[in-house]
Structures are given as C-alpha cells and as structure tokens.
C-alpha cells in the first residue's frame, strides 16, 4: 500500500494532476494523446507518466507502439478514505461539501 504523502507528491504537480483529471474524465489515453495537456515536450510528459506509474496512480497498457494509460482506482479510494476518516473534524459543513461537489460537476461540463 502506497503511503499518502507519496500519493500526494504524485498529484502535487499541476501537469500530473491535469493528466489524472483528463484520464478520469475521458477514460484511458495514449501518451501521444496526452501530449497537449501542457506546453511541454514529449519527454517531459513521459517522465510525468513515469512518476504517476511509480506512485501507482496510473497503469500502463501496451498496444502496438502505443502506451495507453488509465487511472488506478486504489489511490483515489485511499485518499477518500483518509479524508472521510477525519470527517468528524470538518463535518460541521456538509452543506458546503455538497455545494463544492455540485460546483465541480458544473465546471466540468
């Protein structure tokens, strides 16, 4: 089981976070398709994907000469579990949490 700080480190970079969001929103994609996620070169993307892979955030599937990436469920589960484990701490504002979720959905359309 990956430790949370390592998971957070993987998601702390804006480019990597964008990759994860994209994969979550649109499903699995090849390294090439992810190229336009940020204004950086292909090797840079490749290294970000490696970091995500080593943190267990994404899995790699080989299809011909393409490497196809998808988000792994476990890390998201782990993060959710951690936040919810401390729910008694921030439970005072469930309304705001709900609002935040609604907001996210709205933005992603």
């Amino acid at each position: 089981m990956t430790r949370l700080p390592d998971l957070f480190a993987a998601l702390a970079d804006p480019t990597r976070f964008a990759i994860v969001e994209r994969l979550l929103a649109e499903g699995e994609q090849s390294a090439g398709e992810l190229a336009d996620i940020a204004d950086i070169t292909a090797p840079a993307i490749s290294r970000h994907l490696k970091v995500l892979r080593e943190a267990g955030v994404v899995t790699q599937r080989i299809d011909g000469q393409r490497r196809i990436y998808a988000v792994t469920p476990e890390p998201l589960q782990a993060i959710s579990a951690w936040a919810i484990a401390h729910r008694d701490f921030w439970e005072g504002s469930l309304d705001r949490l709900e609002a935040a979720i609604r907001n996210r959905r709205k933005e992603s359309r």
Copy 2:
C-alpha cells in the same frame, strides 16, 4: 479557494503530513510541542509550519510567546469533495477491472 495541486504539495512532505495527522488526532498544539514530530531542528519545523499556513492547511493563533497551530477544515473538505466527485469511478472498481480484463482478452484475439 486553494487549488488541489497546491494542497497536495503541502501534504506531500512526510513531516508536514505527520504534523497534520498529529493536529487532527490531538487537537491544536504549539510549535514547541510539535518539535518531536521528526528528527529535525526547530527552524525546519517552523518552515514546514509556514508552508502549511501559506497553503491554508493550518491556522496560527498567538498565545503569549507561543504560536499555536490547528488544522483548517476547508482543505480536507476540498480533498474529500474531489475524491467523492470521482466516486463513480473507483466505487465500482471491481466491475471495471473485470471488464478491462475481458476487453483485453477480446482484443488479443
């Protein structure tokens, strides 16, 4: 509102994560009380607290010559909201895993 990658960056360091866990478990504590959280000097702790403060993860309260720190609810809320917003993804992870395996079998024929 703080962006998630910045939040994750604040929590990516093991010492900072330990500070947050401690404050969540035992409630607010002074910088001095947090000194034993890791085998580093007081200035190092102080800088970690500054990072957490600037990311909005903790608040600082002044009491005499002590600075007392406590976790802010909003960041945990935000993280939880993000994870839960993608719950449909990792909730049925077993089904998806199965489907992915079936899919791969189909393709390789």
